[in-house]
Amino acid sequence: MSFQGNSVFDRFLASLAEIVRDRDGAKLQDFLQIEPPLPDVYGQMVDELRQRYPDGSRGEADLQRRCEGLVPKSGGSSWTAFPTFMKLYFCFLRDVNVENLLETYNMLKVLLNQCVIALGDSQFGIVVLPTVLYLSKVLAKLAMGLDRRPELVAHLLRLEGGPEQDESTEKVTLVEKSANVVREAFIKCLTDRSGTPGVHGKPEGKRVGIYLMANLCLKLLFQCGKLRNAEQMFASITAQSPPLKHFPASQRVTYLYYLGRYLLSNNLFFPAQIALQAAYDQCHRQAINQKRLILTYLISCNIILGRFPSMHLLQRPESQGLADKFIPLCQLVARGNYIAFREHLTGNSATTEWFARKGILLPLRNRCEILVWRSLARKVFIHGGFHGETQGQAQRGPPPFLYLTKLEAAVRWLQSQHLSTSPLLVVSPFANARVSASKSQFGSQIVSITADPDFALLTAQDANKGAPDASILTEYADYLCPDGFFDATGQWQTNPAKSLVDGALDPDYSQYELNPYAEDAEDTTGEPSPLMREIESILASLLTQRLMRGYLTHRNPRFAIPGARLRGALPTGFPNVWQTIYARELEDMGVPGWVKPPPTIAAPVALGGGGRVVNLSGARPVGVQ
């Protein structure tokens, strides 16, 4: 080096040149610190930088020239991205002002971006891999911190956007911007061409960084709620990554956790369960917090698939706090009271809030209800069904069956039980729903309408029949009792007494049908009720999913369980949920996004010519996810 001096900066550069020559990525990362508190020597270097290379085109050009000396000239190819990155690094140290967190964020993002470009070099790129990871983590931490405390940068973002900010384009949050940069680094790692690529490869070269970068990117995408953007990542991993098992345990467990959550959010509960179970099994047994998070989603998947957590599992240290959330839910599923189930997962209870924050409220609410209906149908069958002839086996009697009117009666009974307490029932705006559950026109009452505050006055009005509410009069006095009005003949009439010009309000609408979909009562005599129709379709759905076995008759509605002689009506008609789903999913135990080593049995190599056999056992039908 021509500039060997005694300044900290000169010595720093000299050491960097050695590190690059030795291709020591870990040491390079160790040198390129950015996060305060920095050792004093960095402070000295910053002072020198400010003196010798002040902000401005001249200083930067000089600085760039100094950095160009860091790259080995041999081999023809020059790693031009690295000197630029180093110049940006020194500028960052020189200029960063952590008082302005938005500016700090932007500078850091530019720095990381340049480092990712340097990572792209086929020869030297790997040297900056640890630095890319380090900078990515700092950027992610900053972005997520600011995401949680937006007030720290709100004033700066406003300035940046200006008043004419384009509202037609989607706003990209700092977290999502960070994810996009990290994804670039992930792609550079995945597409390293050295060594053996793909499923036969090992984590060598930049490929060692695949899951480190993927996990960081997934963390950011989960934070900013842009999970959809992860789809391409999983597809690329499936296509190009070496098997996951060759990577360190921390990366495997973290990746399987995010993959499981991604699959869960895409309603692929069975593969999600496999990924999360593997994450749990491979997790370090002392990593309680990680295990608790994995279990939160693993238990949710299993409940949806018809498998409840055992007391043994819920008593483990990592399950602390989970039993309170999941045991009541499991009990409600087994009990079969669908209204209590809906109430449990509706409204603003702390439990609902917790499920919602974890992102499992909707899957649990939507997917478990069918299990609740199965439980209800099963109980009604136990207490009200025909269980088949117990004696006289020789004679062929009718198969066990259940009149669906009994299920209908059970539902009506549940509705009447909950009429006074259930917000789902009481808030129905249709008068006749309130009158009597037994005359309900609305099936199982899926429609849930929360009280609209705008109509609160109307309801109050309802209560004290006729006398207009004082607050209504004050608010709408100019309309209800104006100074004057035009009468029916078009003559202006003054109204000095300020009386109600249209007379007293009549809030009694009971004579009117307010439900636009109401059917004429006369037309429906002898027809099955909407509730019966709904019960039939719920049972049909259970039968289609094979969660119940048998058939339905529509005329004189019944659910019949043929072939129950051997095993009995109950196990035949209501088979075990988990075993049914497991048997169905057994055909394909693959988890999209989880790369496994290819089967060890060597596939016969077709030796040219005809007679090639293409094995399609792994192919899926068109249109199946």
């Binding site: 952590v98 973290t254 491979q282 957590p309 009990r335």
Partner: protein, 88 residues
């Protein structure tokens, strides 16, 4: 640099109390980095006794159908269904 650092630290320290509540609420949602990169199989959850041999059957209850006829809900349901029978 060192000056701004210490100022920054002070600023951070003064903001701690307000910060506490939201972070406590959200941090348990975040999957923490593991303190170590890799560990052998015998330190995993799977190897720790209860789930050994890949046998995790007793972590999960496959049969949960509620057949307790003495339980309140079942008893009431039974009574209701009897009424349907008698009204026929």
């Amino acid at each position: 640099m060192s000056n701004t650092q210490s100022e920054d630290k002070k600023a951070e320290a003064s903001q701690q109390p307000q910060q506490q509540k939201p972070t406590v609420l959200e941090e348990d949602d975040e999957f923490e980095d593991f303190p170590v990169d890799d560990w052998p199989e015998n330190e995993t959850e799977q190897a720790s006794g209860s789930t050994a041999n890949g046998n995790n059957v007793h972590l999960w209850e496959e049969s949960w159908d509620d057949d307790d006829a003495a339980e309140d809900f079942s008893k009431q349901l039974k009574e209701e269904l009897k009424k349907v029978d008698t009204s026929r």
